[in-house]
């Protein structure tokens, strides 16, 4: 089961403080669908304009990126640069 790790602020508001969520999902799009089903409002709070780290690799605007059974997923602010 993949682990989704939320920043404590989000966890406090949407998951009853649970920062580490375990989810079975083959890819990113099904992962967020499952998150939204379990915690209505969570994905809206994370926002459309977010980056995602899957096992340490950062994706901007992912859709069907594969998620492995032991993957770790983090949501991050979008990063630009100078």
């Amino acid at each position: 089961m993949a682990r989704v790790i939320l920043q404590s602020e989000l966890a406090r508001r949407y998951t009853g403080g649970q920062a580490t969520l375990t989810i079975v999902a083959p890819d990113y799009s099904s992962l967020i669908a499952e998150l939204e089903r379990r915690y209505p409002g969570l994905m809206a709070a994370i926002g459309a304009h977010t980056a995602v780290a899957i096992d340490g690799e950062i994706f901007h605007d992912p859709l069907h990126e594969p998620i492995a059974a032991d993957s770790e997923v983090h949501f991050m602010p979008l990063i630009g640069g100078g």
Binding site: D55, G56, I58, G80, G82
Partner: protein, 761 residues
């Protein structure tokens, strides 16, 4: 994950060499066309009317006197632009609120900083345009203003936006304030971490707003035809950004605008948004003639950039052996007139070089009556690193420990969890520390009033949408087209990578930068992404071209494509059927292209993932003059994990330039305001960026821990080198004087006062 990083040993024919850049001759001869170098027949010259006040309500704008002047053809105000709703769009990597961009380009109801644009005019000469601008009368109701970030956060501070409510706090505020947002990151339990600490260091820091300082002011020429099509020639870090932002601000279709990028005379993040381009199009539309707008240096200082000044508090706890147990950071960053400071990025980057189990960052984005901040090299990171790296230096002193050893003991490695969440993959931070330790600079003796500082820094590096097309010419030479302005030698890197993959000579590869109609979308030249992401697109375009070349070779040989291999710029038959087939060189396949199906090319567009984070460590020696407070940088060494240097000389240049900018930030540069909120030093002379006689040679060490996410192992290199210098310089001054530096810039009067207050002189 968790593999030991290896120093790169593979050698290539072209990658890693230092040939002359393809655009070099034009640039040393003055032939390269920068933003202000374009002229069109019948062209008018524009001038922008700007606010003399830091904060005021616009009661009325009257352009009639200006328009009566013979030779004045158009005037525009906010009334000529759509009143955009407040909504955040993706805008590429960083979210963009186009209402704010629009209001920054031309003020609607209020001016929010001195220099804020309120109107623009176009006339037959620059002199006449200036005269016309002076005839535009604006009736202002001057409002109280606020400049300082902490003052702007006070409940009784003058409020800039009556619809701005702090996001990220519970409960959501019911009154508007200047505090745009609070964000935060937590790892482990800091209370527990500090309880376990045997030594704790805590300190507050302050940095001033500084400008990117590119030597080329913003410049644009625009035309607008009766069919509604606009063309813009301009300097920017992204022609596609200019097209998208201008379309949005003017309510046009993206396809109605073509943006032709000029050469860019420096940007450093400051040319990642629009200022004058939509004004030039609006003036061209009204006048029916081409319009050129070029900013003066004063306008550049007052109305573009800078990056945030910041107030930062850092607290770290450690065991007596130097192992960090906890770290805590509070960051309050100036956003300027509209929300969007890089405070969050400061919070994400400050502790990134270190393996700290318990850490937190609390980041505040605060508006005040200053120009809206723009990206500047590793946005937000240098100020946070100034705080963290200074506190670590103090901790090392308290522990009686070598500051390099303290960092080594806590260095992040592959598998270390960053405060912002994920675990690092292959990174080369520890390798930069080892390189520092063995560098002769580290053990050079110091004289009286001299001190040595060390500091590290981190930047994520990014990828993103990138396109590349390779066209094989009839004689076997190649064009490589990309969509990213070449800000520091990237044409050379693109050509080197294409030559390497195709297997042909660097001299036979001609890189060019396409306009928005000539190449598919490519995100900004910024975030240290071009050599990585666009380079990746070039490598993939070369692969696609090779696939096509192999097909054509198979056709010429009348064999199946699976029996063709590509090596050293030639097709080789692997078919063992008794026929001897001499390898087909690229030029020969190209010469027969029409016989085998037409021109040969390969084009790809990707959303590049797999950017490799970068880490750097800098060593700085200074000498302090106790009589004047003057600081001289004696020696400077910049060490960085660059993944793989495609053109090492230009990589060294990035390290040297970033270090120089950071030294300026540390020692001299700052925005100085008077009591009325007017900028007092809006000239190059008074702002005082480093000049050649201020600096020593800047030695560089390129550590190469390959990034697995790029075919040649490239990591972005441009951002990291501005992160360590603030603290490297400050730590050197602290050690030279025995007085801890907690505010920048360390200008002579400030340092002298500090030394006098501490009883040191």
């Amino acid at each position: 994950m968790g593999n030991e990083p290896k120093i790169f040993t593979k050698t290539y024919k072209w990658v890693g060499t230092r040939p002359v850049r393809p655009d070099g001759v034009d640039k040393v001869m003055g032939r390269a066309a920068f933003g202000a170098d374009y002229q069109l027949p019948g062209m008018l010259f524009g001038a922008v009317v700007r606010s003399p006040h830091a904060h005021a309500r616009i009661k009325s704008i009257d352009t009639s006197a200006a328009l009566k002047l013979p030779g004045v053809h158009a005037a525009v105000t906010a009334a000529d632009f759509p009143d955009l709703p407040s909504e955040v769009s993706a805008g590429g990597e960083a979210p963009v609120n186009f209402r704010h961009v629009s209001l920054n380009v031309i003020a609607r109801d209020k001016v929010l900083y001195e220099g804020h644009a309120v109107a623009a005019v176009a006339a037959t000469s620059p002199g006449l345009a200036a005269e016309a601008a002076a005839l535009v009368t604006v009736d202002y109701e001057v409002l109280p203003h606020v400049i300082d970030v902490l003052e702007a956060m006070q409940p009784d501070a003058p409020v800039l936006h009556d619809d701005l409510y702090t996001s990220g706090v519970d409960p959501r505020p019911t009154t508007a304030s200047n505090v745009a947002a609070r964000t935060g990151f937590t790892l482990g339990d800091t209370a527990q971490g500090f309880a376990a600490a045997e030594v704790i260091v805590e300190r507050e820091f302050k940095t001033e707003a500084v400008h990117q300082g590119y030597i080329e002011p913003h410049a644009a020429v625009a035309t607008y035809a009766a069919d509604g099509m606009a063309t813009i020639w301009c300097t920017s870090q992204g022609q596609f950004m200019v097209r998208e932002f201008t379309a949005k601000l003017l309510g046009m279709d993206i396809s109605a605008i073509r943006v032709i990028p000029s050469e860019i005379g420096g940007g450093f993040g400051g040319k990642t948004t629009v200022y004058i381009e939509p004004l030039a199009v609006a003036l061209a539309k009204k006048s029916g003639r081409p319009v050129k707008l070029v900013m003066s240096r004063v306008e550049v200082f007052k109305a573009t950039g800078p990056t945030s000044g910041a107030w930062i508090k850092v607290k770290v706890g450690a065991k007596r052996d130097g192992k960090l147990t906890a770290g805590e950071m509070v960051l309050k960053y100036q956003a300027g007139a509209f929300p969007g400071s890089p405070a969050t990025l400061g919070g994400m980057t400050g502790f990134a070089p270190y393996d700290i189990e318990n850490a937190s960052a609390e980041c505040w984005d605060v508006v005040s009556n200053r120009p809206k901040c723009a990206a500047y090299r590793a946005p937000g990171a240098p100020m946070a690193a100034f705080g963290v790296e200074s506190v670590l230096d103090e901790l090392a002193q308290k522990l009686g420990m070598c500051p390099l050893e303290l960092r080594m003991k806590n260095a992040a490695k592959a598998g270390t969890r960053a405060l912002y969440g994920p675990k690092f993959l292959d990174i080369g931070y520890a390798e930069t520390l080892t390189a520092a330790q063995v560098h002769p600079h580290w053990s050079m003796p110091l004289g009286p009033h001299q001190g040595r500082g060390i500091a590290s820094g981190f930047w994520f590096n990014v990828g993103g949408p990138s396109s590349a097309a390779i066209h094989i010419n009839e004689d076997g030479t190649a064009e490589v087209v990309t969509g990213n302005p070449d800000i520091g030698g990237s044409r050379a890197s693109m050509a080197l990578m294409a030559a390497e993959v195709l297997g042909i000579d660097y001299a036979k590869v001609k890189p060019m930068i396409g306009d928005t109609g000539q190449i598919a979308y490519s995100f900004l030249t910024g975030g240290s992404r071009v050599t990585f992401a666009t380079g990746k697109a070039v490598c993939e375009a070369a692969d696609a071209t090779i696939a096509e070349l192999k097909k054509r070779a198979a056709k010429l040989w009348k064999i199946d494509g699976q029996h063709v291999e590509w090596r050293d710029g030639q097709a080789w038959s692997t078919l063992d059927d008794g026929t001897d087939r001499a390898p087909l060189p690229l030029a020969k396949i190209a010469a027969n292209a029409s016989k085998t199906g037409g021109p040969i090319s390969g084009a790809v567009s990707i959303n590049a993932a797999g950017a490799g984070p970068g880490f750097g460590t800098h060593i700085c020696d200074v000498e302090v003059d106790p009589e004047t407070g003057g600081v001289t940088v004696l020696r400077y060494t910049a060490i960085q994990d660059v993944g793989r240097a495609i053109h090492p000389a230009y990589v060294e240049g990035q390290l040297q330039g970033g270090a120089a900018q950071g030294i300026g930030w540390a020692l001299n540069e700052e925005y100085v305001y008077d009591a009325k909120g007017r900028l007092q030093n809006a000239s190059v002379l008074d702002y005082r960026m480093p000049v050649a006689s201020d600096l020593p040679m800047i030695d560089t060490v390129l550590v190469e821990v390959p990034n697995p996410g790029h075919p040649f192992g490239v990591r972005g290199v441009g951002e990291v080198p501005i992160v360590p210098p603030l603290a490297a310089v400050a730590n050197a001054v602290s050690r030279a004087t025995g007085v801890r530096i907690d505010a920048l810039p360390i200008s002579p009067p400030r340092l002298l006062k500090k030394l006098v207050d501490a009883g040191k002189v």
